[in-house]
């Protein structure tokens, strides 16, 4: 990559970062993306959409044909931790999903949730960043 092109790429990245709109409502509302996995080299992408209706935060993991509904996402505002359970599908049938995590940098447009993720017999960590 030429130096000029490198600087141009850097500027475009910086500009992109500057225009990300913040979301000042319920801190879980929105689309989040990231991954989970048992190790740093074995990761599975996750897209998760969460919405607050005034009583419950509900969500969808990987919206689309393989969507997994998450009926309730529990948020403890005392320490900004979340917890949810869902039932997904894999080649052998239904698989349970359970996750516990902590919401960090709640004022940021790109706040994050990270913690532990269980899917069937597998266990690992996950990290989601709000898009």
């Amino acid at each position: 990559m030429s130096k000029g092109l490198f600087v141009l790429v850097l500027l475009v990245v910086s500009l992109n970062a500057s225009v990300a709109p913040a979301q000042e409502g319920h801190p879980l509302t929105g689309t989040w993306s990231g991954d989970w996995g048992p190790s740093a080299t074995s990761r599975t992408h996750i897209t998760m959409v969460m919405a607050w209706d005034g009583k419950t935060v509900s969500g969808t993991i990987n919206p689309g044909p393989d969507a997994v509904p998450v009926p309730a996402i529990l948020l403890d505002v005392a320490n900004w931790t979340i917890r949810f359970e869902a039932t997904g599908k894999n080649s052998s049938g239904a698989v349970s999903i359970a996750a516990e995590g902590k919401l960090d940098d709640i004022a940021s447009a790109h706040r994050t949730i990270s913690g532990t993720w269980r899917q069937g017999a597998a266990k690992g960590d996950f990290k989601l960043t709000r898009d």
């Binding site: 910086s14 500009l15 913040a22 979301q23 409502g25 607050w52 005392a78 940021s108």
Partner: protein, 372 residues
Amino acid sequence: MRRLSLLACGVAFGVLLSTPLSAQRPASAVYDTERVVQLEGPVTRIEWATPNAFIFVDTRDAAGLVVNWAIQAASPMELARDGWKRSALQVGNIVVVEASPALGTSRKALARSVVLKASGKRLFTARDAPRTAASAGPAPRWPDGRVRLGAPPGQKGHWGGASAKALAENRSTPVRVNDDGLLMNLADADRVAPFQPWAKAVYLHRQRTRLKDDPLVGCMPPGGPRQFLMPNGFQFVEQPQLRRILVLLGGGNRNWRVIHTDGRPQEPAAEAVLTFYGTSVGRWEKDTLVVESTGYNERFWFTNGGLPHTEALRLVERFSRPSLGTLRYEVTVDDPRTYTRPWTGGWTVQWVPNEDIQESFCEDNPELTFVR
């Protein structure tokens, strides 16, 4: 080496571009308003600009070295009301400044008073009270008898300072906040509004972090009641022939808002394009303009102090003018996703006669353009 320089240059430029402009940063997020320092020395530079004037003063530190301080003063309009014309201060004048220093190590301070040392003349004193005398007389009216919200015929003026600094639920004993909406006592949070638990936690987080994440810092508009708390005021332009009222704002990038008075229905929530000022439909109930607004996005704070809201926010505002000099503003906040019940707050606003609103743009950024 050259590659490194180029990289450093790119990074620096990138960081600059990604840094939000911050003309409207709450003072509490920038200055330690609990502290006062005294600075004395010659004026080295004057920036007579909106929304705030800046003067720069050379002082000497404990080691005798010259330190240049950037002193933020009020807006030129407010300074003029105090009798401080642009020519009152010259580069080279020795001044004595009492000011709140910036948080951190920046040599920047918020002026509380500025005195010319040679004459003892006080050029500026920060004040909480409105700086204009109340305008006496009855509310002006249109030929059909309806109250005018703007200037009397043939005159000019605008609405200026509000009697409150932030929105809070009406109480017999008002909640005490500073100029930016920071609670004097965090334990008063429950008296501000009937929060849902998440909303109270977010509000307290914003308060504890001294409002540093205020979207206004990133030049987001002051939607909702906050538009009537901006330091540069606002005015109504009534256009009965077009069946609408324009609200022109002195702050928030000189935005404007439309209140439709043509009786149109509110758009269904699922179809609304969500905006900072929402969709407003108004009607007159005797001498009170009642405005219902929905369709707000979640990208702004609707009052100083950082009260949260969601897209479900619905506001009912009531504007009345009991006299020429007073506007009474009352707003009912209905957002069942954020608050446990609808609640009402408000304030009065004072008429500023014979003045036009001064411009105030976010690009006019003292922190990046004035301060080294």
